[in-house]
């Protein structure tokens, strides 16, 4: 993109008149760009400045009384647990949906179906929380009981089963629904861009539709799917309201998905405690927010790096 657009400098040019309007406009445009960088730096700086009191405070003053590390660690575990569960559920589904919309659905309705999936992304997260609490959690209670009876040899299904269904398992599924449109939108885009020549060559040689997809589409779209999954992971890590409403979290650090004593997540813990927090409590919550910020920043940077790397070589065809 940049290579084709870069203006070639004119060899000999008379001195250009610098108009005031041009300078003001260019300056304000550039200023806005720099302002955005400052905001991002400001987010980090202000979070750190508010978190410092918690970082330097003696361990027994932190809520929980055992120091910042042991306050945040279970929350980090809960955050990762829910997000990874969501990712494991959502990624295969999203790839299937993207393939269905790009290569299986009738052409005439395919765009409409894609739009319907995008609607899932438009629904506010607090509404997902409502739905998870009122519909999904009760609906999953039988599965909780069944899993506790039959699968309790797995650490994640150790039980005892929660009677309300407001567990990490339900949260993971709600998060999966929320990140589904993100992953499938990106997967759809890259699958649609798979070179037509490769696809048609495969079909012309007698490949079935699945063989064509396996040979021409999936290798091309792989990095796009990975990047989409990473972006979905970033979203799931930072999701607040749905988790805060659905999960009835305890303080224990456990991998058990179906009991009623799951660790909470960083974001939902902030949302639940912040309105009533005072003094050092606020600083502690901001410190945990800083941890979340760093985690999501790392995940997103990795995702963008993968996307950009792909953009570099896909421009070649």
């Amino acid at each position: 993109m940049t290579a084709t657009k870069a203006p070639t400098p004119p060899p000999v040019q008379q001195r250009v008149v610098r108009r005031a309007g041009d300078r003001i406009f260019a300056g304000s445009a550039k200023g806005s760009g720099i302002f955005i960088l400052l905001v991002l730096a400001g987010v980090a700086a202000f979070l750190i400045s508010e978190a410092i009191p918690a970082l330097t405070a003696p361990a027994e003053d932190i809520p929980g009384g055992e120091g910042l590390g042991s306050y945040i660690a279970p929350l980090v575990l809960g955050t990762l647990l829910g997000a990874v569960l969501a990712l494991l559920v959502a990624t295969p589904l999203a790839v299937g949906i993207a393939l269905f919309v790009t290569y299986y659905a009738p052409r005439r309705i395919a765009a409409g179906l894609g739009y319907v999936i995008d609607l899932l992304a438009a629904i506010p997260s607090v509404v997902y929380g409502f739905w998870g609490l009122a519909v999904l959690a009760p609906a999953l209670v039988p599965f909780h009981v069944w899993a506790a009876d039959n699968l309790s040899w797995l650490p994640i299904f150790a039980g005892p089963a929660s009677t309300s269904g407001r567990t990490m398992l339900t949260v993971g599924l709600v998060l999966a629904v929320m990140i589904l449109p993100i992953i499938s939108a990106i997967a759809r885009e890259v699958f649609g861009q798979a070179p037509a020549l490769h696809r048609e060559a495969a079909l012309a040689l007698g490949a079935t539709r699945w063989e064509m997809i396996k040979m021409a589409v999936l290798p091309y779209g792989k990095s796009g799917v990975i990047a989409g999954a990473m972006l979905g992971l970033g979203r799931a890590l930072g999701e607040t309201m749905a988790v805060a409403i659905v999960l009835s979290g305890g303080a224990g650090a456990t991998l058990n998905l179906i009991s009623s004593s799951n660790p909470s997540t960083i974001a939902s813990n902030i949302a639940l405690r912040f309105p009533e927090a005072t003094g050092l409590g606020i600083n502690t919550l901001v410190a945990s927010g800083l941890v979340l910020f760093v985690i999501t920043l790392a995940v997103n940077m990795l995702a963008r790096w993968i996307v950009n790397r792909r953009a570099d070589f896909s421009g070649a065809n």
Partner: protein
């Protein structure tokens, strides 16, 4: 790339032996087998006395198996695998439809109970039981979102203009990269940022509508930049060059040629960005809080907003629980309607203001 170009060749060599007669299932046999599998699943569920959900699961599994086995017996492995994947992929789409349909149905079902004039005309001032409404919260949401748009749109649009028209070298790369990274900031972190910023400026325990708008701006600006940048890139370079050739300064070219050409896409992108932030709850929860009365001044004190209103109605109901739950669901319904209207408006903008390129 080399693998994908070589592997078709390998497949092409396969039928070079004695040519087998193509055996195919009749046209609707696949569908018929699937339906038969569904019926068997329903029967199985009825025999074991399970609910509808399990019946559907049994049916889909058995239907998929029936298609695979039937096709494998008649058409061979390759065709059977193809049919299996078709069934799986379609099932994946069907699974994604379940939450969407269920969610919309639930919100409509529970939200219509209080979807009345009182909900839109009353606030919660001195309401402890039935009655009351979200007048204050709806207005609060509109005001805070408007302030957010006033902050975000100029900054986002100018940055997009910088990236497309002026930007070069390292600064452009840095801005592009960090705007992408910013789209992934968790909303609660944006809220904490606004809280930290205003606490440093105005002291402890400050709660302002403006704080919420600042937090939402952190979320909205990158979305505006991304969508505006994509749209501005689509403006043909010939238009700019024609303008320069007539001696028009660059800034006038941008204002009079580039932006009007792209106005449809810009409008769509900005509307979608508004739709993205209007339902945000977490940052408002920790920066704006909630009040029961009507406060329309974003520069003074707490305000009510629709998502936070819905959240507290649901999670902290008073003695008359049902009245609170009804209000919560109606607020959720109004929120969904707002977002959907914005999405439709965005589509209409792109349809009616599309540039007349003649292509």
């Amino acid at each position: 790339m080399s693998t994908s170009t070589q592997s078709p060749v390998r497949v092409a060599e396969e039928p070079s032996g004695p040519i087998r007669p193509q055996r195919k299932l009749p046209r609707y046999a696949g569908l018929g087998l699937y339906v038969a599998g569904l019926a068997a699943g329903a029967l199985l569920a009825a025999l074991t006395g399970s609910g509808i959900a399990l019946a559907v699961v049994y049916g889909v599994v058995l239907g998929t198996l029936a298609v695979y086995v039937g096709s494998r017996a008649v058409e061979g492995t390759r065709k059977a695998t193809d049919r299996l994947v078709t069934a799986l992929v379609t099932t994946a789409f069907g699974i994604a439809m379940i939450p969407l349909v269920s969610l919309v149905y639930t919100v409509l079902d529970k939200g219509l109970a209080r979807f009345d004039a009182q909900f839109f005309s009353n606030s919660m001032f001195r309401v402890v039981g039935e009655g009351g409404g979200a007048y204050h919260a709806i207005l609060g949401t509109v005001i805070i979102t408007a302030v957010t748009a006033v902050i975000s749109v100029p900054i986002g649009l100018l940055t997009a203009i910088y990236l497309v028209e002026y930007g070069t070298g390292r600064l452009k790369k840095a801005i592009t990269f960090f705007v992408d990274v910013m789209t992934g900031i968790p909303s609660i972190v944006a809220g904490l940022f606004a809280f930290a910023l205003f606490t440093l400026l105005f002291g402890n325990d400050v709660r302002l509508g403006l704080m919420g708008a600042a937090a939402l701006s952190v979320l909205m600006i990158p979305v505006v930049v991304r969508s505006c940048e994509e749209v501005l890139k689509l403006v043909p370079n010939e238009l700019r060059e024609a303008s320069y050739a007539l001696g028009v300064p660059k800034w006038r070219t941008i204002v009079k040629v580039v932006l009007p050409t792209a106005v449809a896409g810009l409008g769509t992108g900005i509307t979608l960005a508004v739709a993205r932030v209007i339902g945000e709850t977490a940052p408002l929860l920790i920066t704006v809080g909630l009040i029961t009365g009507t406060n329309l001044n974003p520069f003074d004190g707490r305000m009510a907003t629709l998502p936070v209103f819905a959240y507290y109605q649901l999670t902290q109901p008073g003695t008359d629980t049902q009245a609170f739950l009804d209000r919560a669901w109606t607020a959720a319904l109004v929120l969904i309607i707002l977002v959907m209207v914005l999405n439709v408006v965005a589509r209409l903008i792109s349809r009616f203001f599309a540039p007349k390129t003649g292509r």
